[in-house]
């Protein structure tokens, strides 16, 4: 089996999750977890091949006319991501099965279906070699994230956070799309492999700066970089298994993934790396401060995730092969410990029903294994030996020290990592070991499904730390080589000797320990500056959103005020204005070019419709005005017929008849004679507008003859309609054959509009019933 089928298998998982849940109930998690496990194993089988420097390709044709192929690429970097996606995905499905054990099984089925849909999208994004295909999957991850954050749709906070994440990441996705399209226009290809090979050409083009900015904005929104950092902590409204999976281990790293991929393309553009270092550092500072202020268990973890993403963005901005190794090592280490910590947080919140750190304590009595897993994972997060987090942090400092940057990023990294140590200590020690009086009993204990995820991940963290060689050789090395563009010999080891990096690590741990001890004081001190931090949160987002909604409200009140006179006036005045502009823009004397003889039959019918129109205005009886309008309508049908358009005439007749039948139903309900509802001055104004409209339309129609009609298309259809489509009625042949896909689109629009109006009519009729 080739690797691209894994995407389809994950999609099949999304389809079957719900039906399976109705059969297996609470065991669904275990059953569904076999799917990601299978994909994990099948991708794992490629490890040796990829580590040998091979890049695997697969291709299916999709839209060849636009240069869009379903092309996939498996190199070291996408292999690492695919393994993280499916490996952690396996644990998430098992954990979700246990997490939703007390909920109705339909809820679990829905959740797992969304998780598998997300897995499909993630795999598609990291494996795609075609930029457009990658973008489609990229947007699908945003949609899956939206659905998962809003999973508890009955809660307002969940709905708001879901919408916020969709607006930020979806909006960023559009910016990214613009960047990808410009790449396609500049190089004439959407194949990433080819873009990489022709990166000199891209960087030399005048569009290079714009492309870099657009791609960076897309990536920053997805990976919650400053100033788009605010959506990720709010995304914690999602059920915890989703937070562990999407909003820590995988999806939020897509921005990092993209920036890392394009780092090789923009290697010759120093501004790209510099921007990343600056934005990453800013994000680190902001989120470190926010982490110290946060109160919820998940909120603290979410802020530290934003800080970690900032570290990754900064690392990508640094040059050199050490930076590539540091990036990959940190992605792996972070995914392992952060997902484990989220699992532990989920178990604690699930057991107590409390989400605030200030109300949790002494949980180790009730959740002993979870407490151990939390401590192990947080030691890796704190970067203590012998965990993988220690090695990745050593590389981080080495990458910084060997770059040509000054001391500022190093200082920021030391402080932010110290906060991470503090967070690690606080989230593992305090809820599980301190203040046992806070929690006296728990609703749910530990079950096997709740334990396997955190234990495996925490054990993985220590195992890779103790025996780093296999991971370095098979995973980190190939991934870093794929990023760097040349093979890197990775010597990933626990002990590097007495280096400056070791000194910085010790400093980090020392400051971090101080933060753990003084946590409450720092927390309270920072909380008292609440209003000063307003600009760090989502105030700008709310300002922009409220501005848009306000503008929509004002324009609705102006244009859609419920008064039919207003609507008609606006439409007529717009048409008049458009035509007047056209008259003045046209070369002088180029209108009113009517020619040919007056046809008596047409003139007679027209005169009749004019009489009908005038009668409509003058008569006061409802039935008489209905008849007069009918004269105008049927008169138009006759004119169509006289001008050789029998199809149009038939349609017009059918519609006119339908109006009569519809109006007959309401005739009995309405007063048969009506009085004017408009004052004399209003009627004068109406008359003026109507007269102006008539005059403008007359001049416009009479000027149509000026431009000679291009008959080539009509002639082509006339000649070929019977030969190629076996029909003599050209109108119908165009509808069902030549332009059938347009017709399909049109009937789809008719269907959607009708169903919408049908729903509205139901709403409008109900209050009528209650009134009577």
């Amino acid at each position: 089996m080739t690797f691209e089928w894994s995407i389809l298998i994950a999609l099949a998982g999304a389809v079957v999750a719900r039906p399976v849940s109705s059969v297996l109930g609470r065991h669904t998690g275990w059953a569904i977890s076999l799917i990601p496990l299978f994909i994990f194993v099948s991708i794992f089988l490629h490890v040796a091949q990829v580590a040998g420097g091979e890049v695997l390709f697969a291709q299916l044709s999709w839209v060849p006319s636009l240069g869009v192929e379903l092309a996939f690429r498996l190199d070291g970097f996408s292999l690492l991501f695919a393994l993280l996606i499916t490996g952690i995905g396996t644990l998430v499905t098992i954990y979700a099965g246990a997490y939703f054990a007390e909920k109705p099984s339909g809820e679990l089925g829905r959740f797992l279906s969304l998780i598998m849909l997300f897995m499909t999208a993630m795999l598609g994004t990291v494996l795609s070699d075609n930029l457009i295909v990658m973008f489609v999957f990229w947007e699908l991850t945003s949609l899956a994230s939206f659905l998962l954050i809003g999973f508890d749709g009955h809660k307002e906070a969940a709905r708001k956070s879901a919408l916020q994440s969709l607006i930020v990441t979806g909006g960023g996705g559009l910016v990214l799309f613009a960047g990808l399209v410009v790449i396609g226009m500049t190089l004439g290809t959407f194949s990433f492999t080819e873009v990489l090979a022709r990166s000199d050409e891209l960087v030399a083009s005048p569009w290079a700066g714009m492309i870099a900015v657009l791609i960076m904005i897309g990536a920053f929104t997805k990976s919650a970089q400053f100033p788009f950092h605010f959506w990720l902590p709010n995304a914690m409204a999602a059920p915890t298994p989703a937070s562990a999976y999407l909003h820590s281990a995988t999806m939020v790293k897509l921005g990092v993934f993209l920036l890392a991929r394009f780092d090789a393309v923009f290697a010759e553009m120093p501004a790209y790396g510099h921007t990343l270092v600056v934005v990453g550092s800013l994000t680190m500072i902001v989120s470190a401060l926010q982490a110290l202020r946060a109160e919820g268990f998940k909120a603290v973890l979410a802020q530290s995730t934003v800080a970690s993403l900032g570290i990754l963005v900064m690392l990508i901005g640094l040059t050199g092969e050490v930076a590539a190794v540091a990036t990959v090592g940190f992605i792996l280490a972070h995914a392992l410990y952060k997902a484990a910590l989220f699992f532990c947080a989920g178990t604690a919140i699930h057991a107590t029903g409390e989400a605030s750190l200030g109300k949790l304590g002494g949980l180790a009595r009730f959740l002993p294994v979870t407490a151990v897993a939390a401590v192990l994972a947080s030691l890796s997060m704190a970067g203590l030996p012998p965990f993988v987090g220690f090695i990745s942090k050593e590389y981080l400092f080495e990458a910084q020290l060997s770059s040509d940057w000054n001391v500022v990023p190093v200082a920021i990294a030391v402080l932010v990592n110290a906060v991470m140590v503090g967070v690690a200590g606080v989230v593992s020690i305090r809820p599980f070991y301190f203040k046992p009086e806070r929690v006296s009993k728990v609703h749910h204990g530990e079950t096997a499904g709740l334990l396997i995820g955190p234990m495996l991940l925490a054990a993985g963290g220590i195992l890779i730390g103790l025996v780093p060689a296999p991971a370095a050789q098979w995973l980190i090395g190939p991934a870093a080589s794929a990023l760097y563009g040349q093979p890197i010999d990775v010597s990933f080891s626990l002990w590097h000797g007495l280096t400056p990096m070791l000194f910085l690590s010790a400093l980090v741990v020392f400051i971090g320990a101080l933060i753990v001890i003084k946590w409450t004081q720092i927390h309270t001190a920072l909380k008292s500056f609440d209003h000063a931090y307003g600009f760090l949160g989502d105030r700008f987002y709310h300002g922009a959103l409220n501005g848009v909604l306000g503008a929509a409200r004002i324009s609705t009140r102006l244009l859609q005020n419920g008064d039919q006179h207003r609507y008609t006036t606006i439409v007529l005045l717009t048409v008049i204005a458009g035509l007047v502009i056209a008259f003045f823009a046209a070369p002088s004397g180029d209108f009113l070019a009517g020619e040919g003889d007056i046809r008596i039959s047409v003139a007679l019918v027209l005169a009749l419709t004019v009489i009908g129109a005038i009668a409509t205005i003058l008569v006061r009886s409802l039935i008489a005005s209905l008849v007069s309008v009918g004269i105008v309508g049927f008169g138009s049908a006759v004119i169509f017929m006289l001008n050789g358009a029998p199809d149009l005439a038939l349609t017009q007749i059918a519609v006119e008849t339908l109006i009569v039948i519809l109006m007959t139903a309401v005739l009995l309900r309405l007063p048969s004679r009506t009085r004017h509802s408009r004052t004399v001055s209003e009627r004068r104004r109406d008359g003026l507008i109507a007269g102006g409209f008539a005059a403008a339309m007359f001049v416009a129609l009479a000027s149509i003859g000026v431009t000679p009609v291009d008959l080539r298309l009509s002639e082509y259809f006339g000649e070929t309609s019977y030969l190629e489509a076996y029909g003599r009625n050209v109108v119908n042949v165009i509808l069902v054959d030549y332009r059938a896909i347009d017709t399909l689109g049109e009937i789809a629009v008719v269907a959607i509009a009708t169903i919408a109006a049908w729903g509205l009519l139901r709403g409008a009729i109900k209050p009528l019933r209650t009134k009577e």
Partner: protein, 134 residues
Amino acid sequence: MSVIFSTMSRLFFVLMLVASIYMLFRGHNEPGGGFIGGLFAALAFALLALADSVAAARKALIVHPVVLIGCGLFLAFLSGLPGLFSDGSFLTHWWAELGSTHLGTATIFDIGVFMVVIGGVLALVFRFYEGVEQ
């Protein structure tokens, strides 16, 4: 409604329905087609609803108008698939020659249009009448 109108409407209903199907099938060569035929058929049912009752018209239609919309859209979509598989081009129609007449997937497409139009018009007309009947 009067007895005469009610009785005549049954006759008209059948005649208009036959006419609409005639319109649908002759459409490829002479004025007509799925759209016009659909409008005529919708008129027949609307007339029945007016003369008798909406319930009677709904019963005569058998399926719900919205179901008809969905089925029509799906049928039109399906009619494009054979071309996709044989020529790699969606909605390139297949044709079979039966003596002097040609039959093809284009007719199936037009039947889809026909159903969407009937369903779309009647979904609204029935609702509207029910609102008035209250």
